[in-house]
């Protein structure tokens, strides 16, 4: 138990460091993520370029920390969107019951049985591939958020249903409290831990999905960096073997996901 606590503390520390690097990327590097040093493409790590440069001569360290900002700020945004949708629909299903509950649960079951990556790329393909980088980021994470709600919905629904039958809600109804009062004063505060748990659990899932989409060229567009598109081109194994420091984005990504798993592994048991 003590060992787990120490491990969680270390993971929390690592997440804080990674997030700080991403948020204050400009303070840790003097270069822009798109600036090209055309005379030194594919250079090895040096004092001026800590992780060297990529094939276009861009500073890799700068791109990794700006990529951290993109991945670590937008995955929570997608998780927030998915959690809000799950909270609204799951809350409605759990509290109202009846035919509404049946319809919402059936649609959640249906969405959960869909192969998510197929639907994601089908929706992503609706947009032209040459959209601006910022629009590609927004499109990627909005799509992830909109499609990521069903797994959270089941948990929210179960918690809301338990709450519907609880004594204090019954008492509030018997005392003549209005529906809105019950919702905002009783239901939402009680369900807050469930929402938070679902939010934290969704973040690493969206980070991984973005990475896969970007590696396939369907996620965040160049020149904006993200952990996924920094790994685009990793199939050139000879180049990777010659410059192994290009795998740093993968290391940061895996470390972040593992840290999230450790820190929030008990979150689903919160309620």
């Amino acid at each position: 138990m003590k060992g787990q606590r120490i491990l969680r503390l270390i993971c929390r520390g690592a997440l804080v460091i990674i997030l700080t690097l991403g948020l204050f990327a400009g303070s840790f590097t003097g270069y822009s993520y798109a600036h090209q040093f055309r005379e030194i493409p594919n250079s090895a790590p040096s004092r001026t370029h800590w992780l060297g440069t990529d094939g276009l001569g861009r500073d890799l360290f700068t791109r990794v920390i700006y990529g951290t900002r993109v991945s670590l700020l937008l995955a929570p945004a997608a998780a927030l969107l998915a959690t809000i949708l799950a909270a609204i629909l799951g809350g409605l299903a759990g509290l109202r019951g009846g035919w509404l509950e049946k319809i919402i649960l059936a649609s959640a079951d249906l969405s959960m049985s869909l192969p998510l990556l197929f639907v994601l790329i089908a929706l992503r393909a609706l947009l032209p591939l040459d959209v601006s980088p910022v629009l590609s980021v927004v499109a990627t994470f909005v799509t992830l958020g909109v499609l990521g709600w069903p797994s959270s919905l089941r948990v929210v629904w179960a918690a809301a249903r338990n709450l519907r039958d609880s004594d204090h809600i019954l008492l509030a109804r018997a005392l003549g409290c209005r529906q809105s009062q019950i919702l905002f004063r009783q239901v939402i505060p009680c369900l807050r831990p469930v929402f938070l748990a679902q939010f934290w659990i969704s973040i690493p899932v969206f980070i991984l999905m973005e990475a896969t989409l970007s590696m396939l060229g369907l996620g965040v567009m160049e020149p904006l960096p993200s952990w996924g598109n920094l790994l685009h081109g990793a199939e050139d194994f000879s180049a990777m073997a010659a410059n192994p420091y290009r795998l740093v984005p993968l290391f940061v990504l895996v470390l972040t996901v593992i840290c999230f798993q450790f820190v929030f592994s008990g979150s689903e048991e919160l309620p």
């Binding site: 639907v119 089908a122 591939l129 396939l216 369907l218």
Partner: protein, 286 residues
């Protein structure tokens, strides 16, 4: 028996409804996508007005929306899924050509993952030593933290077949679900009672725990099929395997919506059918 048949009929009906809704959604996506009906051949100054009209008629732009939907559905019923924009070949033919590769890889991958995950979770539940528990959690935790595309690259580097990649992607999630389900069943009072009576651990596991956990384990079939089909896209795309995943990726890069929506619809129906099968097996249990 009659009850089971009526449940099965309900599931078939649900599958049909899903097919119709999916077909309409696919048609809507194709029809309202930016650039629909625009064909660069129309810019050719040598074409006559009649030729341009013929090109426009290929996209069914002449009639209204209802006739477009009717045309799409009737085409589907006759096995005409349209023509791929970038490959210039009938979508039905492409699906027929590519589907066996993916279905075989998904089937082999899922079988491997199920066997590995079952063995691993049974071992951890049977012996319950912290070394086994922590090493299984660490390995599966590391595998879960890898993006599917990275697993695909590793498969390419190690020259292993696509189905093993699918197994590697689905194994950690399957292990976690199976382990939780078995652990919950193992913690139930009748298991404690059996242990108190001196029943052997193997007998408890195979005669009491697994039968109690059977239903939720069967429900995992559908979920795992959905995970496996999702994993097929990056695995096939990056390892250049001629399956539906690679075709979907190429269709997405070329904005070939008729092809992409047909593949998505086909895979959705396949996973829904697996879900229905899992549901039917669950219904059969006493």
């Amino acid at each position: 028996m009659t009850h089971w048949i009526s449940k099965l009929a309900q599931k078939v009906l649900l599958l049909t409804a899903l097919a119709i809704v999916g077909a309409l959604l696919s048609a809507t996506m194709v029809r309202f996508a930016p650039g629909y009906g625009v064909d660069e051949r129309e810019l050719d100054p040598r074409l006559s007005a009649a030729s341009r009209d013929a090109i426009r008629n290929e996209y069914r732009l002449g009639g209204g929306l209802i006739s477009y939907y009717c045309g799409y559905i009737s085409g589907l019923l006759h096995g005409n899924l349209g023509t791929s924009v970038f490959l210039q070949r009938p979508v039905a033919g492409l699906l027929k050509e590519r589907a066996p590769f993916t279905v075989r890889a998904v089937f082999l991958g899922l079988t491997t993952a199920w066997i590995a995950a079952s063995v691993l979770s049974l071992l951890t539940i049977r012996w319950q030593t912290w070394v086994l528990e922590y090493s299984a959690t660490a390995v599966t935790g590391l595998l879960i933290a890898l993006p599917t595309a990275v697993v695909a690259l590793l498969c390419l580097y190690l020259r292993v077949p696509v189905f093993l990649g699918i197994a590697v992607v689905t194994l950690p999630k399957l292990f976690r679900y199976q382990h939780n389900i078995l652990a919950q069943a193992h913690a139930r009072p009748f298991v404690l009672a059996a242990r108190a009576r001196g029943v052997s651990s193997n007998r408890i596991l195979f005669w009491h725990v697994i039968p109690a956990a059977w239903q939720p384990l069967v429900a995992l079939l559908g979920v795992s099929a959905s995970m496996a089909f999702g994993a097929a896209i990056p695995l096939e795309a990056l390892s250049d395997s001629p399956g539906m995943g690679q075709l979907a990726w190429q269709a997405a890069l070329n904005r070939d919506l008729p092809l992409l929506t047909s593949i998505t619809l086909f895979v959705t129906l396949l996973t829904a059918a697996v879900n229905c099968l899992a549901g039917a097996i669950q219904e059969r249990q006493p």
